[in-house]
C-alpha cells in the first residue's frame, strides 16, 4: 500500500465518523482496523494493522477497550499519529511486567535487542485467550513451540546470543518431560517455564534464577516433592537444599533438557577438566602433581561419575572452573551411610580433631583409582586388607606407636592365625580380615561400648561368620545373658585370643586351654593337674580329657543345669566319649580332686596323709640306720683291709 493511499484512508475515516473524535469506542478504532487490507509501513516493511474483531471478542481482553492497551492513543484525534507505541500490558499485568523487566528477555528488550521477545511475542496480541485455555498460545502444549520459536537450533537467538545449551528443543522433546507433554499429552508435565519461570527468566549464573545452582533443587522439588526419600543415599536430609555447594545438584546428574531417569553425559564435561589435568606436568602451586590419569579413572568404580560430581564446587562460569574449589572432595555426598559411620569411628573422630594421623577415605580407597572391594587389585580387597591396615597398624607404624593397649604385633600375629593363614595362604577371601571384626568404617577401640570388638558385642561380631556358636555361647554360663555378675565374663577372644586365633583342633590350642580357663578358674585348674588327665596334658599330649571335653566349649553350663554336659543326666554319657565302659559310679571319679582338703575329700586326704606318714616313717628309720652305719662302715673297711693284708 502506498503512502498516498494510506493518507486517503485516514481522511475518509475522519469524514465518515466525526463522532470518533471524542468518543473513542472500540468501534471507532475498528472503523478503520476492521479493514483486512489495512497496513502500515514500519521500517520499510509493510505490516497489517487489521484487527480481527471475532478473535478480539473471544479473547480474554474482550471487555477491554483498545485504548486500555494502546494507551498512547487515548484522547488522540483522528486520524491518530502515525507512529503508534506498542500496546502496553503493564497497566493491568504489573507484577508480570516487573518480572519481565528483570528477566533476560526484559533486559534485552530494554537495550533494544531486536531479538528480545516482548509480551506479544509469546502471548500474541488481540487474540489472547486465557492461559488455561488449550487454545492459548502459552498453554502447556504450546510452550515448547513458543519458546522453541526463538530457541530452536540454528535460530538467530541460538546463533547470535550466548545460549550455553544446544539442541534445547530436540533434547526437551526427547526428554522424559517432553515425552510426557508432547507424546502423552500430560499437561502437568513440566514445560520450559516450569523450570525457567514464565516471565522472570534469568541465566543460571544469576543467583536469583530458578535454575541457579543453589535454587535448582527447589525448582525441581516443586514437582519432585518427595525426591529426598528416594534419593536418600545422595541427599542426606535437607542438606541438598541447605548446602547445595557440597552436593551434586539435580542437573549434575540429570542434565537439563535431556532429563531421563538414567544418567546422561554430564553437565561439566570431564574433558573440560582434562584440558589441564590430563597433562602429566600439571602441578599445584606447592608442587603437588595435579595430573589425573583418565584411563585409571575410567577403570575405577567411578568410571560413570563425572569429575564435577565429586569436585562439586567447580563453577563453569570461571575460566578455570576449579578455581571455585575451596574444600576436599566429600565422598559422603553419595556415600552418606558410610560417612555417618566414619564420622563416629575413631578414624573420623581423630580427623575431626585435625589429627595428622587420621586416615580419610582416600587413605584406604585411593582417589581416582577407587576400585571396589571385590577387585583383587583394590587395597580394600580382602587379601590386601591386612596390608592396608598394616600401613598404620604394623608394629612401629604411626597407629601402633600411639596404641597403649595389650595387643601388639597384630599384623604378624594375624598372619600366623587361622584367619590370616586362611586368607593369605589359602586365599580364602571369605576369611575374617581386619575389617570383618573391626568393621570397615566404624572402627572403635574395644573399650567403647559401640565398638564391634567391645566385650559386649564381640560374640555377635564373631557370630557373623561362626553361625550357631554365638547362639550356643549366649545360652552358656559365660554369657552375660545368663550370668549376672560384676565380674568380667569371658568372651570369644578371652579363650581364642584376638589376633593369634588358632585352629582348635591343633595341639597348641588344646594344651593351652587349661591355662586359659585357669586364668579365671585358678583353683579348679590347679586340681585338674593333680589328676591323670591333667598330668597327661602337662606332658604335652592331647589324647586326654581337657576342660572342654567334659564341660563343653561354647555351651558350658553348671553341672546343676540339666542341659549341662556334667549334669546327673548327661555325665555318664560325657565320660563314655572316651571311657566306653563308664558307669554311674565311674562318673563319681573326682576329676578335680585334691588331697589337701579334708572336708571335701576326706578319703583322699587321709590316704595321702597315711601314705606320707608311712613314707616319712620308713625313710626316717632307714635313714637313721644308714647314717649310723656309714661312719662305722668306713672304719670297718679299714679294719678289713688291715686284716686281709695281715692274712696275706
Amino acid at each position: 500500500m502506498s503512502t498516498y493511499r494510506h493518507i486517503f484512508l485516514f481522511v475518509s475515516l475522519l469524514l465518515v465518523f466525526p463522532a470518533a473524535l471524542s468518543a473513542q469506542d472500540n468501534s471507532d478504532c475498528l472503523a478503520c482496523h476492521e479493514d483486512k487490507t489495512l497496513t502500515k509501513k514500519v521500517g520499510g516493511k509493510e505490516i497489517s494493522v487489521f484487527v480481527d474483531q471475532s478473535k478480539l471478542a473471544l479473547s480474554v481482553h474482550a471487555a477491554n477497550k483498545c485504548i486500555d492497551c494502546h494507551v498512547d492513543l487515548k484522547d488522540s484525534d483522528f486520524p491518530h499519529k502515525e507512529h503508534v507505541d506498542r500496546a502496553t500490558c503493564t497497566n493491568c499485568h504489573q507484577s508480570e511486567n516487573k518480572d519481565y523487566a528483570e528477566s533476560l528477555h526484559g533486559r534485552a528488550s530494554a537495550r533494544d535487542d531486536k531479538l528480545a521477545p516482548r509480551c506479544q511475542t509469546c502471548h500474541g496480541s488481540h487474540e489472547i485467550v486465557p492461559v488455561k485455555s488449550p487454545k492459548s498460545a502459552v498453554a502447556p502444549l504450546q510452550i515448547p513451540y513458543v519458546c522453541g520459536s526463538c530457541h530452536h537450533e540454528g535460530s538467530p537467538v541460538q546463533v547470535q546470543r550466548h545460549i550455553p545449551q544446544a539442541n534445547i528443543l530436540e533434547n526437551y522433546t526427547e526428554s522424559i518431560h517432553g515425552e510426557a507433554l508432547l507424546k502423552k499429552g500430560l499437561v502437568v508435565a513440566p514445560t520450559c517455564i516450569s523450570c525457567h519461570a514464565a516471565h522472570k527468566i534469568l541465566p543460571h549464573t544469576d543467583p536469583r534464577s530458578s535454575i541457579a545452582r543453589n535454587n535448582i533443587a527447589g525448582t525441581c522439588t516443586k514437582c519432585h516433592a518427595a525426591i529426598e526419600t528416594v534419593h536418600r543415599k545422595i541427599i542426606r536430609g535437607a542438606l541438598w537444599e541447605k548446602a547445595p555447594h557440597v552436593l551434586p545438584v539435580c542437573v549434575d546428574c540429570h542434565q537439563p533438557h535431556k532429563i531421563r531417569n538414567v544418567y546422561y553425559e554430564q553437565g561439566m564435561a570431564d574433558k573440560d577438566c582434562l584440558r589441564c589435568h590430563g597433562n602429566r606436568d600439571a602441578k599445584a602451586a606447592n608442587g603437588r602433581s595435579m595430573y589425573v590419569d583418565y584411563d585409571e579413572l575410567q577403570g575405577s568404580m567411578h568410571s560413570k561419575v563425572a569429575c564435577s560430581q565429586c569436585h562439586t564446587q567447580v563453577n563453569p562460569s570461571f575460566l578455570r572452573p576449579c578455581e571455585a574449589i575451596t574444600s576436599h572432595v566429600d565422598c559422603t555426598i553419595c556415600h552418606a551411610e558410610v560417612g555417618d559411620q566414619y564420622r563416629t569411628s575413631i578414624h573420623g573422630q581423630l580427623f575431626a580433631k585435625n589429627d595428622p594421623n587420621a586416615p580419610m577415605c582416600t587413605e584406604c580407597h585411593g582417589t581416582h583409582n577407587v576400585l571396589g572391594h571385590k577387585n583383587p587389585k583394590s587395597p580394600t580387597f580382602a587379601i590386601n586388607v591386612p596390608f592396608l591396615c598394616g600401613r598404620c597398624h604394623h608394629e612401629g607404624k604411626k597407629a601402633a606407636v600411639r596404641y597403649t593397649g595389650t595387643e601388639h604385633n597384630i599384623i604378624s600375629k594375624y598372619t600366623e592365625s587361622i584367619h590370616g593363614k586362611g586368607l593369605m595362604k589359602s586365599g580364602m577371601t571369605i576369611t575374617a580380615t581386619c575389617a570383618d571384626c573391626h568393621t570397615a568404617h566404624h572402627e572403635l577401640p574395644h573399650s567403647d561400648t559401640a565398638s564391634s570388638v567391645n566385650p559386649k558385642n564381640i560374640s555377635s561380631t564373631c557370630g557373623q561368620c561362626h553361625f550357631g556358636i554365638e547362639e550356643q555361647f549366649n545360652k552358656s554360663v559365660h554369657s552375660p545373658l545368663v550370668t549376672r555378675t560384676d565380674k568380667e565374663l569371658p568372651t570369644c577372644n578371652d579363650c581364642h585370643t584376638a589376633h593369634s586365633i588358632q585352629r582348635t583342633d591343633q595341639d597348641q590350642f588344646k594344651l593351652s586351654i587349661m591355662n586359659t580357663c585357669g586364668r579365671c578358674h585358678t583353683e579348679i585348674a590347679k586340681t585338674y593337674f593333680d589328676t591323670y588327665h591333667g598330668k597327661v596334658s602337662q606332658l604335652g599330649y592331647t589324647k586326654t580329657a581337657k576342660c572342654y571335653d567334659c564341660h563343653g566349649a561354647h555351651d558350658i553350663l553348671p553341672p546343676s543345669d540339666p542341659r549341662s554336659h556334667l549334669s546327673y543326666q548327661n555325665i555318664v554319657q560325657t565320660c563314655k566319649k572316651c571311657h566306653s565302659g563308664a558307669n554311674r559310679q565311674f562318673a563319681g571319679y573326682f576329676t578335680h580332686a585334691t588331697h589337701h582338703d579334708p572336708n571335701k575329700y576326706p578319703w583322699l586326704y587321709w590316704s595321702f596323709l597315711g601314705m606320707t606318714a608311712l613314707l616319712v616313717g620308713t625313710f626316717f628309720f632307714a635313714g637313721v640306720h644308714t647314717l649310723l652305719w656309714l661312719p662305722r662302715s668306713l672304719q670297718y673297711r679299714k679294719e678289713l683291709k688291715k686284716k686281709l693284708s695281715n692274712d696275706v
Binding site: Y532, L539, G581, Q585, F608, M611, T626, W629
Partner: protein, 280 residues
Amino acid sequence: MNEKNNKLQFQRFTRLNRVLHILMIVSFISLALTGLTIKFSYTGWAVILSHLLGGFESAGYIHRFFAVVMVSTFITHLVDIARMKKREYKTWRAMIFSPDSMIFNKKDVQDFIGTLKWFVGKGERPQYGRWTYWEKFDYFAVFWGIFVIGSTGVTLWFPELLTAIFPGWIVNVATIIHSDEALLATGFIFTIHFFNTHLRPEKFPMDIVIFSGRTSLEEYKIDRPAEYKELVERGELEQHLVEPYPPIVIRVIKIFGWTALTAGFGIVLWIIYAMIFAYR
C-alpha cells in the same frame, strides 16, 4: 686251704633267684621311669622322657607290660619257695623256723640291737647269718609293695570294671596310694637298699653277688660268719663252692650293674629335684 679251694667261690644265690632279681631290676626301673613321668609331669624331664618313651600311651603300655613281668616274677618266686619247701623242708613250719628262713626271728632282733651297738662303738659286729635283718626287711618290703602297688595299679588299669563295684573315688584314692607307694619303693630301693648292699664302704661301689651268685670265701666268711660256721660244722661248705665266672661274664655283670645303679641314682636325683625344687 688248698690252691683249688682258694680259687673256688661260695654260691649264695641260685640261678633262678638271680634271673628273678634281674627281671625285678629291669621291670622295677622301667615301671619307675614310666610311672614317674606321670607323677612328675610338671617337670621338664618328665616331658622329655615321656617323648623318648614314645608318648604317654606307649609309656602306659610299657608300664603295664613290666607290671605283668614283675607280678610274674613275684609269682615265680612264690612257686619257687613252695618247691623249695617241698624239696628241702617238707613242712612250712620247718622252713619258717630254719636258720636260713626269711621270716624275722629272735636272732634278727638280737642282730638289730647288736648292729646298733656296733654302729655306736658299743660292741662287736654281730655274727650275721644267711640273711641279715635289713635284707629280710627289703624282702618283705617287696611283698608289701607288690600287694599295695599291684592292687591299686589294677584299679587304675581297669577303672570301669572296679567302679562297677566301688564308688568312683576309689580311683582317686588308688592314684594317691599307687603313686606314693611307688615313691616310697623307688626312694627306698635307690637309696637305702643301694647303700645297704652296694654303697657301704666295704662293698663300694657295688656288690655283684646277686648277679654272679658267688662271692669269695674270705668275703663270705667275714660277711656271714654264723652261716659259714654252721656250714663248716655240718661239713656242707664244699657243696656250695663253685668255679668263679670268667672275667668277661663279670664284665657284663658290672656293665649291667652300673646301668641299673645309674638309672636308680638318676631317678633319685629326679625325685629330689621334682619334690623339692619343682614341686607345685
